[in-house]
């Protein structure tokens, strides 16, 4: 019953080799400060290295997407359905997982990796850390069509989202509203399509979908809509690339040096 989780040791999806080569070729340890660890930075580098090898330039994007909403609205189910193609009514709160990774072959030249960040169910009282919001470029807000109070929370979640994360130019990140559990009896505003349209316009949602993680309804469609919105901002997102003095310590690959440092 339920979902079991275990750690897979051998296959890890990260682009390290190109970066490693870059670093090893560095003339001295001093250059190790320029580590292309940051996702956007390393994507850019990745593009460049491919360009050099083959002359074609496949686009490789990595986007962080937040999945937000009240307890029990089906956030984790939606992620599981979308990423892992299964549904279970009996899953437990997911332990130890920050985000699920979905790889999309968007078109012949574009590979998109989506990091879908669950609110770690536990940060459920609306107290997500900045770490959660940081550098997100899109969001789903989820409510449960069978419980009106989860819809009432939607505007709070949206306001909270907009106050905590913006695009580099200060505009809100694209957000799609998901009316989940649409295979069940609906309550409230959701029964009027035109009112929902109006609501979304007023609150600044890019779009909305009736979804069902259980029946696999509209989840791929909603994701596609959100990704197209994000792609429109792509230039904006990538323009905020960082200089070499800024880096992540994750996967730090130390250049060995034994001599006196001074």
């Amino acid at each position: 019953m339920g979902a079991a989780i275990f750690v897979k040791a051998s296959v890890v999806t990260r682009y390290c080799d190109s970066r490693q080569k870059h670093r090893q070729s560095a003339a001295s340890w001093r250059d190790s400060e320029t580590s292309f660890e940051q996702q956007k930075g390393h994507d850019r580098f990745f593009e460049m290295s491919n360009l050099n090898q083959s002359g074609v330039k496949p686009k490789d994007h990595l986007y962080k997407i937040l999945v937000i909403g009240d307890l029990g609205t089906g956030k984790t189910s939606i992620i599981k359905r979308y990423v892992h193609q299964f549904f279970s009514q009996h899953y437990r709160a997911t332990i130890g997982v920050d985000f699920a990774l979905k790889v999309l072959n968007w078109d012949a030249n574009t590979l998109i990796r989506l990091q879908l960040w669950d609110i770690a169910g536990q940060e459920r009282y609306g107290n997500m850390t900045r770490v959660y919001y940081k550098e997100a470029v899109g969001a789903f807000i989820v409510f449960d069509v069978t419980r009106v109070n989860t819809f009432e929370s939607v505007s709070n979640w949206k306001a909270d989202l907009d106050s905590k994360v913006q695009l580099p130019d200060g505009s809100p990140i694209p957000c799609v509203l998901l009316a989940n559990k649409c295979d069940q009896q609906k309550e409230g505003l959701i029964n009027s399509k035109s009112k929902m349209e109006e609501y979304c316009k007023e609150k600044g949602f890019s779009s909305w979908y009736e979804t069902s993680a259980k029946e696999n309804i509209n989840i791929d469609e909603a994701a596609r809509t959100l990704v197209s919105q994000i792609l429109l901002n792509d230039k904006l997102i990538n323009d905020s690339n960082k200089d070499g003095d800024q880096f992540s310590l994750a996967h730090t690959n130390d250049v060995k040096k034994k001599s006196c440092n001074c």
Partner: protein, 540 residues
């Protein structure tokens, strides 16, 4: 979004400061059921970062103080004391509130264009671009904190910037401290002979055997440096900047401090130090996020109405709102300790000042992240000055945030005055080459590092100190680890958390695993194995 909290936990952590957050993450990581709550509506407590608008509203602490209640078989202690609060000395603007409509006068317009005229209104409008630390920290590139972030894989939650220069105040002006090998050789402030002396000294500090320091056990580091025939300038660089010592620091301590500095050189950037992007307050949240991801439950803005103990003074639970929540252990920040229990004998305080300024203390072509180690003068203790530019994500472009702090002797303003006067324009409106202070905030906070971990009167209760004077988080990590090990004596402290990519979620039918593997196989072939990379992290 109102829910009742679950009512039974292994451990309740009260306060989201650094030490509490590390304990919370470590407990959650080994599968303990953790409730992590804070009465504040923000993360970080005395270790938090604020935007410009909210820092003007931080409470000094005005909590209600109900009395101890004795119930049948149980005692309920009230939460919080005022002993460990911040003491706000002053918070002032030094610029006009808004810009009155200017007469469009041809002769004035050139002047107006030249000067970027900041007003309170303008700054408050971009309030959210500020992340102002109550307790700014730097990280030694090879220090305990950086190693812990990497070994626990919490590093994935944060980004850093390297400190790009270290300055000192020498002979009446700011000087760049030559700290790396190439700095030493390219410096035109140091003669060729001095270069050799300095290199030799630093090498013997790092590699020197015991004989090198024989006879200096009771003597000062300064006397050692003098005996090595270093010039006055070199002694200054080594003693006050590299080793961050005073004239009285003992030789062996000075050598240890020199090693700490030199050992972190060369890993990232030009100096041994890193600063957390978007402010030091980010760091506590990285630990909180890990705790949450491993099942920790978070609730901020909670009204804590009491700690429940039985008649043997063993911890039973807390009262949160009207709800009773039980747990085996309680870990809390010092300022949450019941007033009746506080046993605070030390009276050491930290004097702090924060400024928003209009340009760097030492202008250069590029923006710097600057650490200035202001030496002790005329019985004034050494001051640490940290200047942050917009690239750190803590202030808007064109401005700097400057943190100045030292051990308190009188009050923040008097303790820091000699240093502040040398760096900034003396009077408002005066224009010379020094930066002007647009906004200033002086406050002090108790240095609680020497406070005991365990509450003698209350069992299963551990207290976490607030920010200390160390540049890095080393003492905080040490404390958190001690608390964790006392509670869970045989458990591993923050083992590496797997990356999301390393976790497979297995559905009810096994086909999912196959799908999963196939999907991964499609990903281009030039991937490295992160786990092996990390495993070899510490080969040096």
């Amino acid at each position: 979004m109102e829910y009742d909290l679950p009512s039974d936990f292994d451990i309740i952590v009260v306060g989201t400061g650094m030490v509490e957050s590390i304990v919370s993450a470590a407990a959650s990581r080994i599968g303990k059921r953790v409730l992590h709550i804070d009465s504040n509506s923000y993360y970080g407590g005395l270790w938090a970062s604020f935007n410009l608008d909210s820092i003007s509203k931080i409470p000094e602490g005005n909590r209600s103080q109900p009395v101890v209640e004795n119930k049948e078989n149980e005692i309920v202690y009230p939460v919080g004391n005022d002993v460990f609060d911040l003491r706000i000395h002053s918070q002032k603007w030094h610029i006009p509130e808004s810009n009155p409509e200017k007469d469009v006068d041809e002769s004035d317009s050139a002047v107006a264009q030249e000067e970027h005229e900041w007003t309170q209104e303008k700054l408050l409008k971009i309030s959210r671009k500020f992340n102002i630390d109550l307790a700014p920290k730097l990280h030694f590139a090879k220090g305990d904190f950086v190693e812990l972030l990497i070994s626990s894989n919490i590093a994935r939650y944060s980004e850093f910037r390297s400190v790009s220069r270290i300055l000192t105040w020498l002979n009446g002006s700011l000087e760049i401290v030559p700290c790396s090998r190439s700095d030493v050789f390219s410096s035109n402030r140091v003669s060729v002979i001095e270069k050799r002396m300095l290199m030799k000294l630093l090498t013997s500090c790092v590699d020197g055997d015991e004989n090198e320091f024989k006879g200096y056990e009771g003597k000062t580091f300064q006397s050692y440096l003098k005996d090595r025939k270093l010039t006055e300038n070199l002694i200054h660089y080594v003693l006050y900047a590299i080793a961050m010592c005073t004239d009285d620091t003992l030789c062996l301590e000075g050598v240890e401090k020199t090693k700490r500095f030199l050992g972190s050189l060369g890993r990232f950037g030009k100096t041994p130090f890193l600063y957390s992007m978007y402010g030091s307050g980010e760091i506590t949240q990285a630990f909180c996020r890990l705790s949450a991801v491993f099942g920790g439950i978070y609730a901020l803005n909670q009204s804590l109405n009491g700690f429940i103990y039985d008649n043997d003074n063993t911890f039973k639970g807390i009262i949160c709102g009207k709800q009773r929540i039980n747990a085996t252990h309680l870990v809390m920040s010092l300022e949450k300790l019941p007033k009746e229990i506080v046993d605070f004998s030390t009276t050491e305080y930290i004097s702090r000042a924060i400024f928003i300024t209009d340009k760097s203390i030492l202008e250069d072509e590029r923006e710097h992240l600057t650490l200035l180690l202001f030496p002790p003068v005329d019985r004034k203790a050494a001051c640490v000055v940290l200047e942050l530019g917009s690239l750190t994500g803590t202030c808007p472009k064109g401005l700097h945030i400057v943190h100045v702090f030292t051990k308190q002797t009188v009050n923040p303003e008097d303790d820091l005055k000699h240093c502040v006067e040398k760096l900034f324009c003396k009077r408002e409106g005066e224009s010379n080459s020094s930066p002007s202070i647009l906004w200033s905030f002086y406050f002090s906070a108790p240095n609680t590092f020497s406070q005991k971990l365990e509450c003698e009167k209350l069992l299963n209760t551990y207290v976490c100190p607030g920010p200390d004077l160390d540049l890095d988080y080393d003492p905080a990590i040490e404390r958190a680890k001690e608390i964790f090990e006392r509670i869970y004596s045989n458990a591993e402290f923050l083992p590496r958390a797997p990356d999301p990519e390393e976790i497979i979620i297995e559905g009810e039918d096994n086909n999912n695993i196959i799908n999963e593997t196939e999907e991964r196989a499609e990903v281009p072939a030039d991937q490295g194995d992160v786990s092996s990379e990390l495993a070899h992290e510490d080969d040096t």
